[in-house]
């Protein structure tokens, strides 16, 4: 049953608290069955936005549509959305079955139907036969599934999730990421998920909106955000990046030539367009885009190259990094350590050649501090 009407539509939603603008003129729409994430640092307004969708806060201006109908004046207990809270908010005074059946009881569904539906939804989340047990008997991951079951039994048009994995330990969090994604495709319900953890957003979502200071910086797929960030904030926030402040010296069809304050010459690509010679810019290079070599020839074909001294080896298994200091400019760079074993013996003080393509060097106009952190 595919329709053109998106499940959730926000039309220039704004929210102010006194003179602080938490959410500024945000518009987006989420098609049916999409896993949509809102990714942003804490204090960016994502929680406020989610609470407005749930109905706990009223937007200062703008409109909110669910399945094409405005719900701006509908109180939260009448909205066809459900929310999984950050700390899950399971009712400790009820057993698991009563928790899951809570919403149905409020709708006045008769007792035997409630029991049937509760059993079915608990089976779907892989927790058959626990209805009589107290909430406290569950592990963190199981509580998570009960919280989702409690919402899904009501068949909401949109399920909102407020960083529900934040309280779990790392191993379980990794596991729950996959499980959440599976549950979403199984229920085929629209999920709106907010998080400050980029890996959660990147792994699970079909669409991600990166939010900062109350506005959506960029909306797109995980790949788009990672490979083609449209703003300096996104380039710095999604994935790792080395950042340089520089001035444009020359502009050619092949790319930009820039100089940093230390005199380092960089070659890069204008990410959004519209940069001119003399502009102050921010240059982003991902640690994994930098190639290492033991001799100068290994990186001679690359448009940016140099020799660095290993300042530190941050060993973290597959995500190990080298901190290099460029011998010429003194600039610090982090470089992903390839896991082929070739550079396993690198240690502090060693000299190594490094270089990267100008196509993987994204340049943005400098406007204040684009990071905001």
């Amino acid at each position: 049953m595919l329709t053109d009407v998106p499940d959730l539509q926000c039309r220039s939603i704004s929210k102010s608290f006194d003179d602080f603008k938490a959410v500024k003129d945000v518009s987006f729409s989420v098609p049916q069955g999409t896993f949509f994430s809102i990714l942003g640092p804490s204090g960016c307004g994502k929680t406020t936005l989610l609470r407005m969708i749930a109905g706990f806060q009223k937007p200062t201006s703008g409109d909110l549509l669910i399945k094409g109908k405005s719900v701006i004046d509908v109180p939260p207990n009448k909205r066809p959305v459900s929310m999984v809270f950050q700390h899950l908010a399971l009712f400790p005074m009820m057993n698991i079955g009563a928790n899951v059946g809570f919403g149905l009881r409020q709708r006045g569904v008769n007792r035997s139907d409630i029991e049937k539906q509760v059993t079915r939804v608990l089976e779907r989340v892989g927790l058959a036969g626990v209805a009589e047990r107290p909430i406290s008997s569950l592990s963190g991951g199981q509580k998570q599934r009960v919280a989702i079951a409690r919402c899904m039994v009501l068949e909401p048009d949109v399920l909102l999730l407020d960083e529900p994995l934040g309280a779990l330990d790392l191993k379980l969090r990794e596991h729950m990421k996959i499980e959440l994604k599976q549950l979403q495709s199984e229920f085929n319900t629209t999920f709106v998920y907010i998080t400050h953890d980029q890996s959660e957003a990147l792994v699970m979502s079909e669409q991600i909106a990166v939010m900062n200071n109350g506005v959506f910086e960029q909306t797109g797929t995980a790949k788009e955000l990672y490979y083609e960030p449209q703003t300096a904030f996104v380039a710095g926030f999604v994935g790792e990046a080395n950042r340089f402040a520089a001035t444009i010296k020359n502009r050619a069809d092949s790319g930009l030539q820039m100089t940093t304050a230390q005199g380092q010459v960089l070659h890069g690509t204008d990410a959004v367009g519209g940069l001119a010679v003399g502009d102050m810019v921010n240059v982003f290079v991902r640690p994994e885009a930098v190639r290492l070599s033991r001799n100068a020839e290994g990186v001679s074909g690359l448009s940016n190259a140099g020799q660095g001294k290993v300042e530190n080896v941050l060993f973290n298994g597959a995500n190990s990094q080298l901190i290099l200091r460029d011998q010429q400019s003194g600039a610090e760079m982090s470089v992903a350590l390839p896991q082929t074993g070739e550079f396993r013996d690198l240690s502090r003080g060693d000299l190594i050649h490094f270089g990267w393509e100008h196509l993987q060097t994204r340049v943005y106009a400098a406007t204040g501090d684009p990071h905001g952190h």
Partner: protein, 288 residues
């Protein structure tokens, strides 16, 4: 050696509590119980019997006063709960920071003056020539002065007023510990305000409700000043009877028997209350 030390510390720390319990609670009660079993058969001649308790059973006035004290105290407890719950909810959930401290303090301030002065305050308001009576006459709502003291309503007002703080404190404590997101979750899942109150707020606050009710009930049942001053000579409060047996009639034997009956009554009603609400005393007291 270390265990001996910690044992010694344990008993030393427990000592004040034990001394207090034994000398001020247990010993007097044992003594009182022995006194209540003495029947006076002549001058300085006593026999052990249940005659004092038989006197209570055979005299309808004692019986009625006993029952009346019980149901008035239960009514005062319920009324205090009904008034105290919204106040506590407001303080615990709807106020923040300064307002919270201020409103909590406002509940406490009346307790800075003695119970006697507070009760006299009510008398000034309620008596025939008092503030309310004069005000109603001034408004032209009544023709002559009206007496609002010396009836059950006045006693009830005084009891509820006196015990309000003891209901509000445990309720605020338990309601404070209720996570706001539980209320929001209930609302989000389609519950009405009433359903949230019934299914989430009250079950969570139950230990506070029960401990508040126990304290208020005990205070009301054992209250002497308020019923006597606001209810006058018709107040018929059981503590009044005990007082008159001990002080006016010098009948310590019957007074002791009454005292024990009151102890039995309060224990019984608290026990029944706990059974009805499915709470245990330990759980209730540990929570607040």
């Amino acid at each position: 050696m270390a265990t001996d030390r910690s044992k010694l510390a344990f008993w030393l720390l427990l000592a004040p509590c034990l001394i207090w319990l034994v000398t001020l609670i247990i010993l007097p009660h044992v003594g009182m119980f022995l006194v209540s079993l003495r029947e006076k058969v002549g001058v300085r001649e006593y026999e052990t019997s249940f005659a004092n308790y038989a006197v209570f059973l055979n005299e309808p006035l004692y019986w009625n006063t006993f029952a009346r004290t019980a149901y008035m105290s239960i009514a005062a407890t319920i009324l205090t709960l009904l008034i105290g719950f919204p106040i506590s909810y407001y303080i615990a959930k709807l106020t923040r920071g300064r307002t919270k401290t201020t409103s909590f303090l406002m509940c406490l301030i009346p307790f800075w003056v003695s119970e006697l002065v507070r009760t006299f305050g009510w008398m000034i308001l309620l008596r025939e020539t008092g503030v309310f009576s004069n005000f109603l006459q001034y408004l032209g709502l009544v023709n002559g002065p009206i007496e609002m003291l010396y009836n059950d309503a006045a006693i009830m007002t005084g009891l509820v007023y006196t015990s309000m703080l003891f209901m509000v404190v445990p309720l605020v404590t338990t309601l404070d510990s209720l996570d706001d997101s539980l209320i929001e979750a209930g609302y989000d899942l389609g519950a009405s305000g009433f359903a949230i109150l019934r299914e989430i707020v009250i079950p969570h606050a139950m230990p506070g409700i029960v401990s508040g009710c126990i304290v208020v009930f005990m205070l009301s049942l054992g209250n002497y000043l308020t019923p006597i001053l606001l209810g006058g000579k018709d107040s018929l409060w059981f503590t009044g009877l005990i007082y008159s047996q001990f002080i006016t009639r010098f009948n310590w034997e019957l007074g002791s028997a009454f005292g024990f009956l009151l102890l039995g009554l309060s224990s019984l009603i608290v026990f029944v209350g706990l059974k009805l609400t499915g709470q245990s005393l330990g759980k209730t007291m540990a929570q607040s």
